[in-house]
């Protein structure tokens, strides 16, 4: 593998979108 996605691309691709799912999971767990 010669090429990869840059750190900034991975960061913005993963953190906000996975973040909102994790927040949903967290508030769901806290509400249990």
């Amino acid at each position: 593998m010669e090429h990869s996605l840059s750190f900034a691309t991975w960061f913005w691709l993963l953190v906000p979108m996975c973040g909102v799912v994790l927040l949903s999971l967290l508030t769901w767990l806290l509400g249990k």
Binding site: M1, S4, T9, V21, L23, S24, W28
Partner: protein, 490 residues
């Protein structure tokens, strides 16, 4: 490409399945609240997937993978903005709206809620918002039909008119029969199909490319810039793309799902299901288009938007391809049916019942609801008969228009006791006008997606006009207190 027999069979089974759901829902529909809001008895799973599937149109399986295929990673910003917007909507609007619409004398539509919330005897809020819903969703529905019929014409050489009528008749039938419950249950099945398709297609393409590393290398060989989310992007451009997420708070066909949830305490479960569905589906669409760059490196596609449909035809056996095709149609149909029903509810509840026949029986209202579904659908089919017609360009205003005209009104009405009817009315008008005017002007700041200025000006107008206005009557304020007590379980 022609449609093989197994694909056709799978496809027909899908369409028949939708009709069976419509018939089942018909048996549970007795009054207008059932017909336009399912009698508020949606479970969290159905509410979540129905909100997601109604939101995500053919764009999810055609437009987004197409944009990723054509330009690469920098097209993913819109998905980031949409995910954040949808989450904030679930977090701050959903439960409040569910509770307040019930406290405000059981409002069953968005215009109904606005009138009840502000005790608006003039009916101005109800009538203006209902007209906006009716006009834009008729065009929206029509443009969805054009998208569906064009897809079948281009992909399988099917006659445009035949595709248009077959699709329209199936949607009209189940929406006519079962109303909101039929729309939500079909949305649920359609949402599952879309989800499955968006998980298996990208995995299959990356596999066919020779794995993730090989995919990256092949994409870089085509154009290394396509690996970079910041390529050719300014902060201005990124903000403009992410601003799409602001649209969520004002989309009547989405927020009505919140109002229909069985118990407001189910909201965290619905939110978790809805967000997981949405984010995984968006990733699926992003990586399908991205891996498609590598797959079609030697022979690029003529039309980027066919990347998903072409991959599903070449990588899978015809039975699975039929299911994947049904998934694309699901994305289109689940949006059309919801918009159709919201338009029908605006005509039935907000015009017929409110203005013409307040004494109408429930049975009469349900049948008027069914009649208006057929009427609006036929108008939409009529407009869709010529796919190149310019009137459908109005759709470009719809997402931003609803977001800017209704979004701040809904958010502030659920959080600010001091907001007044005049504030709501002025905000709605300023939000809508800003979107329309902003779109006409080009260059500099006017290249920004018009929802952002529209949203800000709408919110500012609501605050300014409300503060200049007399404070709301005592009855409105006590109802707001009741709402807050109910919301916090006191």
């Amino acid at each position: 490409m022609t449609m093989s027999t197994p694909t056709l069979v799978t496809f027909v089974v899908y369409l028949i399945g939708m009709l069976i759901i419509g018939f089942a829902a018909y048996r549970l529909t007795d009054n207008l609240s059932d017909y336009v809001l399912g009698g508020r008895r949606l479970g969290p799973g159905v509410a979540a997937l129905s909100a997601g599937a109604s939101d995500m149109s053919g764009w999810l399986l055609l437009g987004l993978p197409g944009a990723m295929y054509a330009a690469g990673m920098n097209q993913a910003w819109i998905a980031v903005g949409l995910s954040i917007g949808a989450y904030l909507n679930w977090q701050f609007v959903a439960r409040r709206l569910r509770v307040y619409t019930e406290v405000a004398r059981d409002a069953i539509t968005v215009p109904d809620y606005l009138e009840n919330r502000f005790y608006d005897k003039s009916k101005a809020l109800r009538v203006i918002s209902a007209i906006v819903i009716l006009v834009f969703f008729t065009f929206y529905t029509s443009s969805g039909m054009v998208a569906g019929a064009t897809l079948f014409e281009k992909s399988f050489g099917m006659d445009y008119g035949v595709a248009l009528w077959v699709g329209a008749i199936v949607i009209i039938s189940y929406t006519f029969l079962g109303g909101f419950l039929a729309v939500c249950w079909t949305d649920f099945v359609q949402g599952l199909l879309m989800f499955a398709a968006l998980l298996i297609v990208p995995m299959a393409v990356i596999g066919a490319d020779g794995g993730w590393g090989a995919t990256l290398d092949s994409v870089a060989a085509v154009d290394p810039a396509r690996l970079d989310m910041f390529h050719d992007m300014t902060l201005f451009g990124i903000v403009s793309l992410m601003a799409w997420g602001l649209g969520y708070f004002g989309q009547p066909h989405i927020v009505v799902r919140f109002m229909a949830l069985r118990r407001s305490s189910d909201m965290p479960t619905a939110r978790l299901i809805g967000m997981t569905w949405m984010v995984l589906a968006l990733y699926g669409a992003i990586f399908t288009g991205f891996a498609g760059i590598a797959y079609f490196a030697e022979q690029p596609l003529e039309n980027a938007e066919t990347v998903f449909i072409t991959l599903s035809q070449v990588l899978f056996n015809p039975w699975v391809a039929g299911v994947l095709l049904a998934a694309i149609l699901s994305a289109i149909m689940s949006t059309i049916d919801s918009q159709l029903l919201v338009s029908s509810s605006a005509l039935t509840e907000d015009f017929y019942k409110s203005l013409l026949r307040p004494e109408a029986s429930q049975r009469e209202l349900v049948w008027i609801g069914r009649g208006t579904v057929v009427l609006i659908a036929l108008i939409a089919v009529f407009m869709a008969r010529d796919p190149d017609t310019t009137v459908l360009g109005l759709v470009a205003y719809a997402w931003g228009g609803f977001g800017a005209a209704f979004g701040p009104v809904i958010i502030l009405s659920l959080t600010w006791r001091r907001m007044t009817r005049n504030g709501a009315l002025a905000g709605m008008i300023v939000g809508a006008l800003t979107v329309i005017v902003w779109k006409q002007i080009e260059g500099g700041i006017f290249d920004m997606y018009e929802i952002l200025p529209g949203f800000i000006l709408c919110a500012a107008t609501i605050v300014a006009v409300s503060l200049l206005d007399r404070p709301p009557e005592q009855a409105i304020q006590s109802e707001f207190d009741t709402f807050e007590k109910t919301l916090h379980g006191r």
